[in-house]
């Protein structure tokens, strides 16, 4: 049985979505137990309306939570018993093996940094996101790729990029079950000399290393999905990922608007059927549950603030899968193989 601590407060859809997601999971999975951390009276009220397996759901009390507009450092310092810190401490004390939060992203990163040691050899954390692509790489299901960092570390050195590459590759192997994932650096050209000094140096270090490093990719290659793991600094990754979300939203808005304006459009859209679904899938990545926060000695999954119950359930399953697949151990082995620990010390 794997136990996951879920910060049940603070998502945009509130406690209702997180509790419902956990309740859903309790009915279908036999080997995951969820500690719901938050306001117990609130959580109980939601739970009273739902079907769930009480042997796999435990309520743990916390006092308040970090709101989306709070300054995360100030909020955590002002309220050391808030839900995300209490959930992280359950993992720290060994009462749970993974942390999942759909609350404030910055607060989740700081709570992890407060409660968990960094992996030896890793100096900076990275938040990773799965996004849909055109080409099929994984062993099953829809095609997708992983991009990291998407916002945990804005400024990086070459060793940080190498660390991100390593962590992304391990995550892709354990969670997406891709053998020897193709890893690339995001740059302004495919030649090894292209990019910032940190990218050029990281490129050199990754060549001939143990990862399946295929070189640099350009912006063009992001939606194409020609690699499994794309590595960049958190500033670039944040802009890129939000732009993909923006393209998706614009696409859906135009389709919706046009379809409401015209019967002919509605008929046309319905005739497109599966083809349109494929286009839609490409521009919709709210289906993916959680973004792993990598670099700590514990498994941390950040679910999107707007997560639905289904997305929460997926994030909990991903967290359990990471524990089962020993994601942390794999990254630790990778660090040793790359000799990152000597460099970083």
């Amino acid at each position: 049985m794997i136990t996951v601590a879920l910060d049940a407060m603070g998502g945009d859809r509130g406690v209702a979505a997180t509790v419902e997601g956990a309740a859903k999971l309790s009915r279908e999975e036999v080997d995951i137990r969820v500690l719901l951390v938050g306001d117990v009276p609130q959580m109980s009220r939601v739970l009273a309306e739902l079907r769930y397996d009480p042997t796999r759901l435990v309520l743990v009390d916390a006092e308040g939570y970090v709101r989306m507009h709070d300054k995360p450092r100030d909020a955590l310092d002002a309220n050391p018993k808030c839900s995300v810190l209490e959930a992280a401490r359950l993992v720290q004390r060994g009462e749970a093996q993974a942390l999942v939060s759909s609350g404030h992203t910055g607060a989740a990163i700081l709570a992890a940094a407060d409660c968990f040691p960094m992996m030896p050899g890793i100096r900076r954390a990275a938040l990773a996101s799965v996004y849909p692509t055109e080409a099929r790489h994984g062993p099953k299901g829809d095609p997708f790729a992983l991009i990291l960092d998407i916002g945990a570390t804005l400024a990086v050195g070459p060793a940080d990029l190498v660390g991100f590459a390593l962590m992304g590759s391990a995550y892709s192997e354990v969670i997406s079950e891709i053998r020897a994932p193709k890893v690339a650096l995001l740059s302004n050209g495919t030649e090894p000399t292209k990019g910032t000094p940190a990218i050029v140096d990281a490129h050199r270090r990754l060549l001939g290393g143990p990862l399946n490093f295929v070189g640099n990719v350009e912006g063009l290659d992001i939606p194409r999905g020609i690699v499994d793991v794309i590595v960049c600094d958190g500033f670039l990754g944040n802009v890129v990922l939000k732009m993909l979300e923006g393209v998706s939203e614009v696409f859906m808005e135009i389709a919706r608007e046009a379809s409401s304006r015209s019967l002919q459009w509605r008929i046309g859209l319905s005739m497109l059927g599966g083809g349109l679904k494929e286009l839609r899938r490409l521009t919709d990545f709210n289906v993916y549950g959680g973004a792993p926060l990598l670099g700590f000695e514990e498994v941390v999954i950040k679910a999107h603030g707007r997560s639905s119950p289904r997305a929460i359930r997926n994030a909990l399953k991903v967290a359990a899968k990471a524990v089962r697949g020993d994601l942390i151990g794999r990254i630790r082995d990778g660090v040793a193989a790359l000799h990152l620990d000597q460099e970083a010390s």
Copy 2:
């Protein structure tokens, strides 16, 4: 009469596309003369097959050109009489008022740097690109926005970003005829504290300045078109623009493939008519002729390497419009108003 020097060699479609574009323009515009710079025998052969106005087309000889895979600095040094340098020198000597090239981008930037002084107060050049958006801002035609830098200057300081903002705003006013264009910095959050130190500092300098500066925008806002001018460093801009191109290509491929597979799809697509055209337009920006290279004392337009004759003709018209609208003078006035010249000296 405005005279434009056109580097007629080196685009992916070769001399045929550039000469045809110039020939087209000669028949329709009365106040633009084009100096076609390149291999005269080759250009003559193309011209012999076309209708054109010989009073508005002049052939100027050059020896060879920079190929797409050449290292631009080496190629220019090895061949000082190549087409892009000869074309730039025509502008330098006052025989033409603007330079247009569809050849190697790096070579065009270096040729400009070799032949033209930088604008006072501007330390780094920026390449800008117009791209289609959802929202309508310009006075007429399809909605679009300008993004710069997209690759001329990879690493920037705050004064460079302020300079890019100024140049992009002036270009948007003169060419797109937008009054007081909305200018924004691209960052990982809208708050003034978000972004790299250079962005945070540039934000502070732009606030309360003479431009219509609206703050930071995020990746989400790029396709939405909520501002007219988006400012970023050349590394980020390059990745972002190529990603927009990639999304476009993936979209078109899927539509093409599905439509070839199924009659129902073909009928569905044809019923969508104008709505589909709108979606397509949003993901297709090869319609826009040229990317201005800003920061020099002369007008320079870089046409896309894959430019069609129509795109070449558009780039020539944009160059002439920039001269007529005194783009350079407007930027010079803007520099004075922002006191960038003191800072930079």
